[in-house]
């Protein structure tokens, strides 16, 4: 089927469904089609895991829930949707049965081929994907990406962890050695070592985004090795943070505010703050304004946040962390400033060279910095 014919059948299908001809025929060629300023903005959210995982999916659910305060927005959502035909059918079902104008499929693996396929079939619907993959040269105009520099609050976690650790050994439970995860491990370690260069971070890869049994084993074995601050990058931080609390060590949260999981040992953590961004999108749609295909931001844009300090955080740690926070907020903070050595002894960032947060070179990271105990070969 050619693109035109596809668009035509999709439009006809919607027309037959009794929708107004105006909506059906609407498709701008030059910019993302933005829906008509209809009576209600209708948005659909899709999560790969459960809404209440204290992690990645809950962060998006909290963002979606914030929309409930706006009476001109109707938001629906669906949890536990696998990255297969099922997500395609879920998107179609939201479009056909709920009439959503914009879909937020939030899992990384939804993008290719699932979102790309449906975007061709429903040119009047907008597909906004969390992950930052959109490329103007390759992808349709009604697709967009948004993401946050979550490694910035992770850096703050590293500062607090560096000040708090007594054994000088930090632990990191990670899903897989991909650039996003490596960057968090590196930021955490660089921050801690800026406090005390003798600190090391031991990393364990579980090989999966969600494998509670392995996460518990990894956390326990790290604690047995003398680690006294633990953090993680998996879909749900619950198991790691709870294990740390039960074994009486400190923890830094991830994805959402994990303080409730570890009332004694929780230090701080890196959180997503999607509610602001989702409200912003809703306003753009209701105002009939074009939606940018790429949205990206860090602490100063309010897309990510630092969890409030826990009771165990000392004054010196707070002062140091607040200082770094200030630099992130005024844009003067540069994490990757040479010389930086990798943990295999090669110089990855030469002296005098620096990469600001927005540099795309950082997004193909395949090395771990000096001080990380672990290998990128999982």
């Amino acid at each position: 089927m050619t693109e035109d014919k596809k668009a035509l059948t999709a439009n006809r299908r919607r027309f037959l469904k009794g929708l107004s001809a105006g909506t059906a025929g609407m498709a701008f060629a030059s910019q993302m089609p933005s829906a008509l300023a209809a009576d209600k903005v209708s948005m659909g959210f899709i999560y790969v895991g459960p809404r209440d995982d204290y992690g990645y999916n809950q962060a998006h659910f909290e963002g979606k829930s914030a929309l409930a305060a706006l009476d001109w927005v109707k938001a629906v959502d669906e949890e536990n949707v696998p990255e297969s035909l099922e997500v395609q059918k879920t998107m179609e079902s939201m479009i056909n049965l709920d009439g959503v104008q914009v879909v937020f499929p939030t899992s990384f693996g939804y993008f290719d081929p699932h979102i790309l396929k449906l975007a061709g079939e429903y040119p009047e619907v907008q597909f906004l994907h969390c992950g930052g993959l959109w490329d103007a040269t390759k992808h349709p105009k009604n697709v967009g990406s948004y993401f946050g520099y979550i490694d910035e609050p992770v850096y703050i976690s590293g500062i607090v962890a560096g000040h708090t650790s007594k054994s000088k050994k930090l632990g990191f439970v990670a899903a897989m050695p991909i650039p996003q995860v490596l960057r968090n491990i590196n930021n955490f370690t660089l921050a801690a070592r800026s406090v005390d260069p003798s600190i090391t971070t031991t990393v364990v890869f579980t090989g999966s985004w969600s494998d509670p049994v392995k996460e518990a084993e990894a956390a326990s074995s790290l604690i047995d090795q003398g680690v006294d601050v633990l953090t993680c990058h998996v879909d749900s931080p619950k198991v790691v943070v709870e294990t740390a609390e039960r074994r009486g060590i400190y923890s830094c949260g991830y994805h959402t505010n994990n303080a409730v999981l570890a009332p004694k040992g929780f230090l701080t953590g890196a959180e997503w703050a999607w509610s602001g961004l989702y409200k912003h999108y809703a306003e753009l749609i209701s105002g009939g304004k074009p939606i940018p295909n790429l949205m990206r931001g860090g602490l100063k844009d309010g897309i990510v946040a630092v969890s409030p300090y826990g009771a165990a955080v000392g004054e010196a740690a707070k002062v140091a962390a607040d200082g770094v926070m200030k630099k992130f907020m005024d844009g003067s903070m540069v994490v990757y400033e040479g010389p930086i050595m990798s943990n295999t002894g090669t110089e990855v960032v030469p002296a005098g060279k620096s990469y600001p947060q927005t540099d795309v070179w950082l997004e193909s990271m395949d090395w771990l910095v000096e001080g990380v105990v672990g290998s990128t070969q999982a």
Partner: protein, 346 residues
Amino acid sequence: MQKALETWSISLGALLVSVLLVAVFIASTGNSPGEVFYSLYRGAFGSWFSWQNTMVRAAPLLLTALCTALPARVGLIVIGGEGAFVVGGLSATMAGIAISTAPPFVVLTVMMLVAGVTAGGWLMAVGALRYYRNVNETISSLLLNYIAIALLNFLVIGVLRDPATLNNPSTYPIGDQNMIGAIGDSSVHWGLIYGLVACTLMWVLARKSIFGFAADVTGGNIRAARLVGLPVAKIVMFSCFLGGAAAGLAGAIEIAAVQGRANAALNAGYGYAGILVAFLARHNPLAIIPYALLLGGIQAAGGLLQRAHDLPDATVAVIQGIIFMVILSSEMLYGRFRWFQPKKVV
């Protein structure tokens, strides 16, 4: 005739009882059972879109259900469909990448053959372990699932990885020209037809062939089968091979019709859902078809239940669980009603 009537009556009765129990469950969540059942119907069979949604979800279940149903006929409870599905998808991808420039027809045929043989061999090992070493087939096939998933992750993150897939490690794609398309104007891919044909063929094999009869004898009483000189080892292993091949074919279709490349998304639970379908169908390959549609329908409607009634995703699992328990319990009713039994000749 009476036997068929017995099967139909008990199955329908069991479905009715499960509908009642589901209604009680829904009422307990504070929702109106009538409205929820209407949503179930609307999401599963209420429109052409919903029908397509249901069929797409049923397609892989047709094949993964065979993976449990065929070995069950020789008396083995095999739950290795998930692993066979993954192994099939993985080997099909490797074959597809290796010869991706050949004509698409050749590529697809080779992919499916390779998937069938690899996944068939994968589960034949379960049959062999059972027959020669007396290893429990349920446990060994379950453990093989974990090995298959670990193998997939290892290869996808390692040697098979396309370096361009930075944050979602995947293999190289098999190429757009080698993808299976949709049937006509619908959004249902041809995998559904493969599944329907496979179920029909397996029904013929099970019910109308000498092999099928020999398999039933083996499953009924293995000592009797040996005594009458049946090649029991071959029958057991071939049944496992066919089951594995069916699930492997489903994996190959998942790659060729949906994903285009192998990654962690291959492990999406179709193998486990197939076990449920096989038991509901009482291991009758033809009965797999309606039950796969029923389960596909419940899954298709699951999203609507979440969105329209604010029910959690676990609701679908509870509904499936209730149906599963009631139908399994109804097994013990067979032979209990004199009305269905053939009259004894005095």
